[in-house]
């Protein structure tokens, strides 16, 4: 019999307000199994970043609980949590502070009390995995925004946190870097780690991320399989989100017989094949 995966993260009826009269999170409950890969979507100001910061202790709930591997984190310090929960900031400049890329990546590893040899080896591996070798001994501040973003992600992933939270990690990245990052993240999940990724890019989610949750005005409007949530056009519009272009095309072509729930290029090609064969136009 297959064993059920452990629960990595559980949030129970979480409320939060920066100012007492202005609640930002209004009763969020969710459960993330170990090894899951989930996207958080929602318009600017919906509470995505605020929620993410509850999970690593940067912010503390006004009410409700956060459990990390069945431990209530309210008594855990940020540094206790940082061994288990890795957090990549939305703005890389809020995170990077070392004089070289190599030192930035080695910093977190040194804090794990690894030997110098282990730190050097792991740093080298991460530099290679993120194609940052050419920038290893340069000052991050002199590099482009996209490169600084890659460095900020690499530095967090280097410490192998069991739960990894990334706040809009693909902003400013080109197509190749985005594809490489998604490849690394999928692999990281398969190794039993849990990932939560904030993004506005529904095409990225449709192509690569199996689950998503939709935040709207501090409430969880939907949480489940990406495919199911992406069927609800109304709810996505309400949250200022735009469906992938391929889905917009499918919807427009539904009057020509195309299935309106297509989410990827491959699905569209299959649908085209069926229609073209049926109508004998190929």
């Amino acid at each position: 019999m297959a064993t059920l995966p452990q629960i990595a993260l559980q949030v129970k009826n979480l409320h939060f307000a920066y100012k007492p009269d202005n609640p930002v999170l209004k009763g969020i409950s969710l459960t993330l199994p170990e090894g899951s890969f989930t996207a958080i979507i929602g318009q600017n100001g919906s509470g995505k970043t605020t929620l993410a910061k509850q999970l690593n202790g940067l912010l503390r709930p006004t009410a409700g609980q956060v459990y990390l591997y069945n431990t209530d984190i309210q008594h855990c310090s940020i540094s206790d949590l940082s061994g288990t929960v890795g957090y990549v900031f939305q703005n890389p400049d809020h995170q990077i502070f070392s004089p070289t890329t190599r030192q930035e990546i080695a910093f977190g590893l040194k804090n794990l009390r690894l030997s110098k040899q282990e730190v050097d080896l792991q740093t080298q591996n991460v530099l290679a995995a993120f194609h940052l070798n050419a920038y290893a001994d340069l000052q991050p501040a002199t590099l482009s925004y996209g490169l600084r973003r890659k460095i900020s992600i690499a530095a967090v992933m280097a410490t192998s946190p069991k739960v990894l939270i990334l706040d809009e990690p693909t902003i400013g990245l080109d197509w190749r870097s985005t594809m490489e990052l998604i490849g690394l993240l999928k692999q990281y999940c398969q190794q039993g780690n849990t990932i939560l990724l904030i993004t506005h890019d529904l095409r990225l989610i449709a192509d690569h991320i199996p689950h998503c949750m939709l935040l709207h005005s501090g409430q969880l409007l939907a949480f489940g399989e990406t495919r199911t949530i992406f069927q609800d056009v109304e709810i996505l519009h309400q949250a200022h989100l735009a469906l992938p272009q391929i889905n917009q095309l499918a919807r427009r072509l539904s009057s020509a017989g195309v299935r309106p729930d297509i989410l990827t290029v491959e699905e569209f090609c299959d649908e085209y094949r069926k229609l073209a064969l049926k109508r004998q136009v190929l």
Partner: protein, 288 residues
């Protein structure tokens, strides 16, 4: 007609800390002309020098940054090496990725008027231009709204209005939509579209957002390894999907679909916008 922007054999390297090292060239012999009223989008891999190129267009590179420069850039007839940044800035308006890095006044009106006040523009002319700039970005009536009350998309539109009020001949937008949600992005792009159609502003648009680029641009320029690797109409550039992926940049999802349908079914599709894709596929399914 002479181009409004001429980049001729432009090479540039930032100052190096270690002078014994060879200069690290960001650009080598980059050449590009832009006609007045043209909408040119610039794409390229992370770190290729897109922001450096923007900064070179109003002389910040190399006048403020130092470094080694070869070749020339002319903006509206002025060489960027020999004219002060303040003079060039009246011709080239820049909007950056992060509006918070650019906005600093208490309310919308003060922000949009700031540049004009510095230029010594008369009071009633300032009023007119502020009203006009706010109407272009659809922020009429927001004059006295504090900047801190605005959404990210609204703030970015204020930044654009503040630049527009100066009536630059060239508007340079360096990834103006990256921090915005899709609705915020649409707001910005609608404003830019209108500028192009109603005011003939020359626009240089730096972005990774191929789907917007395909909708908006006259010409797409792909930078790679310090040079122009590809340039042409959106259709001609985006249809070279393999070459784009080799360089590391994306194409609109409908162009990937065209490529897939061409490979699988021997079609000859080359669309890069939603409208063109809709029309082409609809008619191909009706063919028989």
């Amino acid at each position: 007609m002479a181009p409004i922007l001429t980049i001729e054999k432009f090479s540039y390297a930032y100052p190096s800390i270690d002078i014994s090292k060879e200069p690290q060239w960001v650009f080598q012999d980059l050449t590009l002309d832009v006609e007045e009223g043209e909408f040119v989008s610039v794409m390229g891999p992370t770190g290729v020098g897109k922001t450096t190129l923007c900064l070179a267009l109003n002389g910040i590179v190399p006048q403020s940054t130092g470094g080694i420069i070869r070749g020339d850039i002319w903006v509206d007839g002025l060489n960027t090496k020999s004219h002060p940044i303040s003079k060039l800035a009246q011709r080239v308006g820049m909007v950056f990725q992060d509006p918070d890095a650019q906005l600093f006044q208490v309310n919308v009106e003060a922000e949009v008027a700031f540049g004009l006040e510095n230029l010594g523009v008369p009071r009633d002319e300032i009023r007119k231009r502020v009203d006009w700039a706010l109407s272009v970005v659809h922020l009429q009536g927001f004059d006295l709204t504090p900047l801190s009350y605005l959404s990210g998309g609204q703030k970015q539109r204020v930044a654009i209005a503040a630049i527009l009020a100066m009536r630059p001949k060239i508007l340079v937008l360096d990834e103006p939509t990256t921090n915005l949600d899709p609705v915020g992005k649409e707001e910005i792009l609608a404003g830019i579209k209108e500028l192009r159609h109603n005011h003939g502003t020359t626009v240089i648009f730096v972005s990774h957002e191929s789907e917007f680029i395909a909708e908006l641009s006259d010409r797409v320029v792909i930078l790679d390894q310090g040079q122009v690797a590809m340039a042409g109409s959106p259709e001609s550039v985006f249809s070279q999907l393999r070459a784009l992926h080799d360089i590391g940049v994306s194409a609109p999802q409908v162009t990937e679909l065209a490529d897939c349908l061409n490979r699988e079914f021997g079609q000859g599709f080359s669309f890069c916008t939603l409208d063109l894709a809709d029309r082409a596929i609809r008619s191909s399914l009706m063919a028989a």
